[in-house]
Amino acid sequence: MGRLLLATSAGVLLFFWVVSALTTTRIAPDNPPALHSSPVQDHASLRPLQDRYKALSKQLSQLIPSQPYIVVDTARNRLYVKHQEKVVLDAIASTGSGVILDKPGEGNSQWVFDTPRGEFLVKTKLTNPTWIKPDWAFVEEGLAVPQNAAERAEQGVLGDYALGFGKGYFIHGTLYTRLLGKNVTHGCIRLNDSDLKGVYKLARVGTPIMIF
C-alpha cells in the first residue's frame, strides 16, 4: 500500500513537472508585436531609444564617487580603497565573526557580531582613539558591566587611527595582527598599522564605504 502510494505520488509529481517544463519558456518581451515590426518602424524607434540608453548610462556613471571610496569584502576579509575603477590600496582585514551572545536579563535578545553590509560614510576620523568598551565586551568575558564610565576606557588597543562609520562601528588597528584575514571581530574592521595609516590619509569625512 505504501509502495503504491509512493509510486502514485512520484507519477503525479513527474506529470506536473513535465507539464511545467512544457509550459515554461524563456522570458518573452513586453510587447510581442514589436518583435515583428517592420524595419522602417524599428529604425524610427531606434534613435530615441539609443539616446535614452546613452543618457541613462551617463547618468549612472555620474553616480560613481569622484573621490576615493572604500570597498570591504567581508567574506574574503579584504579592504580596498578605490578611485574610479582603480585600486589605490589593497589590505587584508578582519571583519565580523557572525557569532552571537545572549544579552543577560533580556530574554531572547542577543548581540550578533556581524559587520554591517550596505553603504556607509566615514563620519569621524580619530587619532590615538580610546576604546570605550561596550556592555558585550564585559559580558563576553563573564564580567559584570561597570556602572562607572571611566572603567570602560581602554587605551592602545585600536591602533593609531580610527574611522567611524556609525552605530559604534569603526575601521581601526589591532594588536592581533595574526588574525588578519579572518572573521574574528565584533563588527568593526581591523587593519594592520601601515594599511590603517594609508586609509586614514586617503579617506575624508564623507568618504563612502561599501560593504558586502
Binding site: 510587447n31 548610462s57 553590509r117 553603504e119
Partner: protein, 213 residues
C-alpha cells in the same frame, strides 16, 4: 591655435569618463530594439537604486552574471552557469529580498577559555530559495558537477513541487491563480555560498531579461 586644438582633442579622448557612458551593458547591440528597451528599463531602475546609499543586486540574464553593486559600481560578480524562468512580466521592476538565507550561528559561552569559531563561507547554504516582494522566488542551486544524479533529482523535485503548489492553490480556491514568478539560477557551489553571505534583508534586486530576436 593648432597646439590648443591638439590639446583639446587629446583631453577629450583621454578623459576617463569618455566612452564609458556607453558601457553600462557592453554586450548590448545598439541596433536591437527589444534589447535596448530592456536595457533602458533596467538602467532606469538602476539609476534610482544607485542614487541612494545602499548595495543592490543586478541579475543579468543576458550577460549571465549576478552583480552586487553600489552607486552603479560592480562590487562583486558571480557567473551564472544556467538559468530558467517562467514567461512572466512580473520579473520587471525592483524587488526587495524578504529575508536572506538563514545560517546557523555559533553562540559565545561567556567567560569560556579559547576563541569562538567564527562563521565562514563554508557555513553558508549553497542551495536555497530567495523570497522577494513583490511576490517572486529565486531558487539558487549549485552546479551539478560531480553529483549529477542526486542534484538532478533534487532540482526535479523542487520544480515539481513549485508547480504542484500552484496547481493545488488554484484547485482549492477555485480561482485561476497566477503562479508566483519564479527564477532558477544555477551557479558554482562556492559562488552560491558567497552570494548567500553578501545578501541582506530588504536588499533590492533588478533583473535584466533576455529578449527573443
Amino acid at each position: 591655435m593648432m597646439k590648443l586644438c591638439a590639446i583639446l582633442i587629446l583631453f577629450v579622448f583621454t578623459t576617463p569618463s569618455w566612452g564609458k557612458e556607453l558601457e553600462a551593458f557592453p554586450d548590448l547591440q545598439l541596433n536591437d530594439v527589444q534589447g535596448l528597451k530592456e536595457a533602458t528599463r533596467v538602467l532606469e531602475e538602476e539609476v534610482k537604486l544607485a542614487a541612494r546609499p545602499q548595495t543592490y543586486v543586478l541579475i543579468d540574464l543576458v550577460g549571465s552574471t549576478i552583480q552586487i553593486k553600489g552607486r552603479g559600481i560592480g562590487l562583486h560578480q558571480i557567473p551564472i552557469i544556467r538559468w530558467s524562468g517562467e514567461s512572466r512580466n512580473e520579473l520587471k521592476g525592483i524587488h526587495k529580498l524578504v529575508a536572506r538565507p538563514s545560517v546557523v550561528r555559533r553562540k559565545i559561552d561567556p567567560g569560556a577559555a579559547g576563541e569562538q569559531e567564527p562563521i565562514s563561507l563554508a557555513d553558508m547554504p549553497a542551495d536555497y530559495v530567495l523570497s522577494c516582494s513583490p511576490s517572486m522566488t529565486i531558487a539558487v542551486v549549485p552546479s551539478t558537477a560531480g553529483k549529477t544524479l542526486l542534484r538532478s533529482a533534487a532540482i526535479l523535485g523542487k520544480s515539481g513541487w513549485h508547480y504542484v503548489q500552484h496547481w493545488a492553490s488554484s484547485f482549492f480556491t477555485d480561482t485561476p491563480s497566477t503562479p508566483t514568478p519564479h527564477l532558477q539560477l544555477t551557479i558554482a557551489a562556492d559562488h552560491a555560498q558567497s552570494l548567500a553571505w553578501s545578501l541582506v534583508d530588504g536588499m533590492a534586486i533588478v533583473i535584466r531579461r533576455p529578449t527573443d530576436k
